[in-house]
Point group: C2
Amino acid sequence: MNAGLSDIDIGVRSIAERARAASRAVVAAPAGARSLALKGIARALRSRAGELIAANALDLERAAAAGLDQPMVDRLRIDQRAVDRMIEGVLQVDTLPDPVGEITELRTLPSGIQVGRMRVPLGVIGIIYESRPNVTVDAAVLCLKSGNACILRGGSESIESNRAIADAIAEGVDGTGIPSDAIQLIATTDRAAVGALLRQDGLVDVIIPRGGKGLIERIVRESTIPVIKHLDGVCHVFIDVSADAAMAVNIAINSKTEKYAVCNAMETLLVHRARAGELLPELARRFAAAGVELRGCESSRCIVPAMKIATEEDWSAEYLGPILAVRVVDDLGAAIGHINRYGSQHTDCIVTNDLAASRRFVTEVDSASVMVNASTQFADGFEYGLGAEIGISTNKLHARGPVGLEGLTTRKFVVYGQGEVRKR
Amino acid sequence: MNAGLSDIDIGVRSIAERARAASRAVVAAPAGARSLALKGIARALRSRAGELIAANALDLERAAAAGLDQPMVDRLRIDQRAVDRMIEGVLQVDTLPDPVGEITELRTLPSGIQVGRMRVPLGVIGIIYESRPNVTVDAAVLCLKSGNACILRGGSESIESNRAIADAIAEGVDGTGIPSDAIQLIATTDRAAVGALLRQDGLVDVIIPRGGKGLIERIVRESTIPVIKHLDGVCHVFIDVSADAAMAVNIAINSKTEKYAVCNAMETLLVHRARAGELLPELARRFAAAGVELRGCESSRCIVPAMKIATEEDWSAEYLGPILAVRVVDDLGAAIGHINRYGSQHTDCIVTNDLAASRRFVTEVDSASVMVNASTQFADGFEYGLGAEIGISTNKLHARGPVGLEGLTTRKFVVYGQGEVRKR
């Protein structure tokens, strides 16, 4: 029967089959069961904090022995404060409105049937992530809140922490009407398990990777299951001819420097030619003070000769660090053209006081988030009021931009009749 | 530069690049341009009806010479009535509400930014279809109405008709502000062109195949672009214990026999054990009169011994013809379990007068359309009031069920600020 399948394949398939069955059970569970389970998870995390921290110490030891650098080790660490934050996150998700079951657009059609759309869970979600063990809790509770079963596959550096968290989750869910198979951890560190998970189409409905570009590219390449992903965040700020000078400088500085290693950080600054002479020297001073290296086009360097020369590669670079590409553009159309050509359809902003320009920018820039007069660093599920975020998507189909609970659901048609039949 | 690329690859890439540029132009076009183009297409189809019918005659001749069977030839045929129907379809799409540009859920968040969601075109849509040349018009106008550019690839049997239709579309669009590259036909019959189109990710946003299962399976396998598809329509009707007898029989008969070769036809009938003795003989008589062969489970055959024996394969068979699988089930839970296990998540119906049963069925059956007391043959974009239909999707992500104009769009976030910056 299983010719050609490794033990890992068989194990992952069994996990996926149990997840599929559990996803049906979650949908069929009594109202309130998911909330009970979330509260149970919070309680179990609290009572098992000592075990979590002890398990995490093993990961930290191993990381130190393996010579992981300090930022990596810090991201791994779970102390009492980290456990408290996890618990707070779980309880906060519990308070969000239930995204499942809503029926909208219910209309009576000429045939007599009523047709509406019902929001339902996606089913089974595979989460593949690196490093931070808190993702184990965050992802599990978002999937559960939205009525999905999930299969979690964390990084090998945090395997002990992840196992301890998974044990706590299982304890918390027990007796609430939610089956423990609704949240499963792939507890082996064998990398083949990722490949096996990516082939469970028919049992797993969507894969959500969280991690570096290398991980995400591998997953997109190998997966036969749809992937909700974002690859690049090459975000732009365009300072239009009518921009308020102080606002433009503030937004540019914040979009770049509030945090560097985030996908919503600005990577290229575009400045309208009519404002470049006035604004670039001030911007250059501010960025220099913040320690940001500027790489400019020829026109920019005429105004600020200290800038390095930008090459063609700089226009599509995601630095994730204190480097910024700078380009002077002739007009709004050139700015939109640059963004649609070199950008990554993630988050782009115009600073302007011209209503027509703002409307054109919002209409024509083909990105998941298009902003007027606000820092690109706002592109985030919490800042957008989604209540939670499982990731940011640069896909066009399904979820686009920050993905909250709604992105973990889909809609089916519901039809109510009184015996109507179709006559063609 | 183009080492390893065939002429076909280069040609298709060039079409895709022009489509991408045209998709930007459609979004940037003045309000009303798309409507002008639709009216222009209707006008050109009317004035070129003679050329269309003449071109179609060449396809019909070739089909006859190649020995295509009569139903295939009939599906190919364009006469004056067919042209009139095409024109009517174009004008009807023109009257539908514009799905693009709507901004919803605009809220002011605690930071002061306003965040909303704007409905926008997907971008470039590749349509791959067989046989019926009217798809060339239908698909083109739905894509244009929703602000997309499209690349059309029809079957080789209808190449002359498709070229003539494409010429008429180009004439109709001319001078309206919509670039002619917004609707392009791949005019070669070389099959390699399909493969080349399926690799244009980055330029083509989604592929929609219309045709037989073989075509769709090939496309799903080869495409590196997301595919909106449906593979199977294994639809069920479940007659619950509380069903009205006459309604149950009517719905079962209509769901199967109104049309056989459609994806929303019933393929398996499930009957509650408590009603089987009463209803199966009557159903068997009615189906026999309609010429439908029944294949039953053991319990069914105890009641109607004339039924053939259903095998395990019958439960997942899509007959698309006058054959029906019949199974007696113990209760509602068993019916839901059967449907979720053997069905294709397309369209499934319960006939019941029990409110709790209908609610449970609607909640737990994991299909694109879930119906209560209505024929499965209603699963259709027009019957659902979508105004149009480009296909039916059994995907869970993005569009699910009948896909109308909304399924050809996506939503981006729009953010309006007054200079807000983020403080973490």
